[in-house]
Structure formats: C-alpha cells, structure tokens
Symmetry: C2
Subunit: 210 residues, 2 copies
Amino acid sequence: MKLYDMRVAPNPRRVRIFLAEKGIEIPTVEINIRAGENLQPGFLAVNPRGVLPALELDDGTVIDESTAICRYFEALQPEPPLLGTTPLEIALVECWNRRIEFDAGQAVIDAFRNSYPPYADRAVPGRSGMPAIPALVERGRVRLAEFFPVIEQRLRESEFVAGPKFSLADITLLCITDFARALKMTVPEDDVPNFLRWHATVSARPSATA
Amino acid sequence: MKLYDMRVAPNPRRVRIFLAEKGIEIPTVEINIRAGENLQPGFLAVNPRGVLPALELDDGTVIDESTAICRYFEALQPEPPLLGTTPLEIALVECWNRRIEFDAGQAVIDAFRNSYPPYADRAVPGRSGMPAIPALVERGRVRLAEFFPVIEQRLRESEFVAGPKFSLADITLLCITDFARALKMTVPEDDVPNFLRWHATVSARPSATA
C-alpha cells in the first residue's frame, strides 16, 4: 500500500500523526496541490476525486478521506487506541473530532481557500473547479474566533480533547490550529491557558513531527 | 436518554433511520430550528452549540453530531452492523459516508441555508449567527450536479453505496437526496438508472419512514 501525501497540508498530517502514534510506516508519494499535481492525469488515474490524503491498497482500492484511513488502521492494529474503546469514548472522540472539523477546520479552510491566489479557481478541495467566494474569508475568521473560547473551556475540564486519553480529536485540533498559525490567522495566545498547556503537551509527542 | 430531533431536517432523520435499523426506540423531543427553538435558552442549556440532532445521556452528557450518535449505538448494540465489521468495510463505509456528506450534503446545505429567508442571519447551523452568502447557492447547485454521475457510477458497480451491505452511507445518501428533492433542487431522473434502483430499494425498507 501507499499513501499519497502533501507535507504542508493539514489533513495529510492528521494521517501521518495517527500512523506515527501506531508505529506504522508506509511508503508515501508527495503530491503538490498548490502546483495542481492533484488534478493532473497521473494522480486522477489513482484518485478521480483529486483529493489528499489518499491511501491506495495493493488491490487498487483508494480510501481518500483522512478519517477513513485512520479507521482502517485502527481496525487493523487497535493498539494504542486512538478512536476510543468504550461506547461513550467512541462517541466522544467522534463528536469532538467532528465539532473541531466543522467549527474550526471548515472555518480555516474557507478563509484560506477563498483568499489564496493559487486557489482562485479551485476554492473547493478536489476536482471540482469552484471560483473563490471572498465573503467566506470573513465568515471563516469569525467562526474561528468563536471556536477558541469553546475549546478553552473544554480543555479546562479535560486533559485531552475527548477526555483523559489522547485521541484523533487531539490530532485534528493540533493540525488545524498549527495550519491556521502558519497562515497567520489569529490563534489566541492570551486568555487560553488551557489551550496553550494542551498545545505544548501534544506538540511534545514524537508523532507531532510526522 | 433522550434524542432532540426535528422531523423534516436531514441529519436527525439519519439518526432515526439508524436507530430503526437497529430496532432501538428512545424518547424524542421535537425542536423547531426554523422557528429558532434551537437558539432559545431552554435548548441552549442542554446543548450550547445549538445544533440537532443531540442525544442527551442520563448523566447529562450531550452527543451532538449525527455520526457520533450512530457510533454510540453501534458500539452498544453491534447487530445489525451499519458501520462495517472488517477493516476494509469499516474504511469504505466511513469513506463513502464522508464523500456523500462533503460532495453532496455540504452542497445541498450551502444552497439551502444561504437562500432560505428564515436563515438569512443564521446560514451556518448552530449558535453562530452568520449572514447568508448568496454565491454559495450557485456553488452548491453546481457541486450537487457534479455528484450524481459519481454516485451513479458507484451504484452501477455496487448494490449499496459502500459495498454489498446496507450501511450508514446509504442512510446519508437517502436523507440528503430526499431533502434536496423536498427543496425542489435538481435530483436527476434520467441517466441515473442505478441511483433510481438503489433509491427504490432503500426507500422500501421499513426504516425509511422513521
């Protein structure tokens, strides 16, 4: 099997960190989305949807959603569990992961893809060539600002995002907030002591460099 | 436990169908999003995020993402499995469910919430009061039109969306396409014989009326 990857993009990083936490190594192929390599015939022959990350299995099956790739490896190698083991843990990991994807991740991606010149004609990830909508930049910024007090409150009550154990929800939050910072979006440094404590802890894990 | 529900909304319907397939009955409380009941103090005290569906457990824990509610019940009562059992099935259910949510679901919701007058000041679901962005209506329509050839091709090769077994991915596709039809968005009736065959099959399951 082989993982189609892009070093600087947040979703491929989620998968790389997940695999590093499991101690799983697989070959990767770097695809440069910014340069449009994901929309060239070579990659579209592998994944007609044109999105990354994409895991190609030996029989040619392609899994092109980050969380689906993570679930595949969690089922193949359950230890250490990153998606919960009890019904409540499983539900809370999924719930927080989705909340972060929607309330923060979509906000960051909207603000980024609708303002970054190379994506002027492909504001929606993947093959669909949608023109940028500038109003989404402000919507994304406002939604991201609203998200931080929520996650600060959660991390005041909980060591990790979904509870006392590190999970995919932490990986998602780390990748999105680091990506937002890299883009110079506002990630607060005041009034969020628990977010900063959490960020230092998860960034110190060896997997964070994956 | 108790499920906060809204009869005509697509995400609560996903959970109701999932529970019906499992033969699980729980009390529901109807909340009218259109009338803004989800943003009134009574519901915000239960779920500060203001979104539906929301499952309230007996200890007060609230799970407010459809797929998290589904995963909770799949873990509590694995039969019949609706999220896959082998690693590959698990990955394919998640992958197709996410593809449908993103490529079709987000398209329909964008087109709906940014054009429906009662949502003019709350185009993003939940507490955040974001103004509508009219350009998202056209983006949503174009993306939805691009989605149907993809799902038609898939259903030409596969009895159900994720493979030979009915799964959450079928529930998601049913709820989104029925919602799009109810809104008079274009759901093709020509050139999609496999989609229509699939739609008739899943609509005939007793759970479809849940």
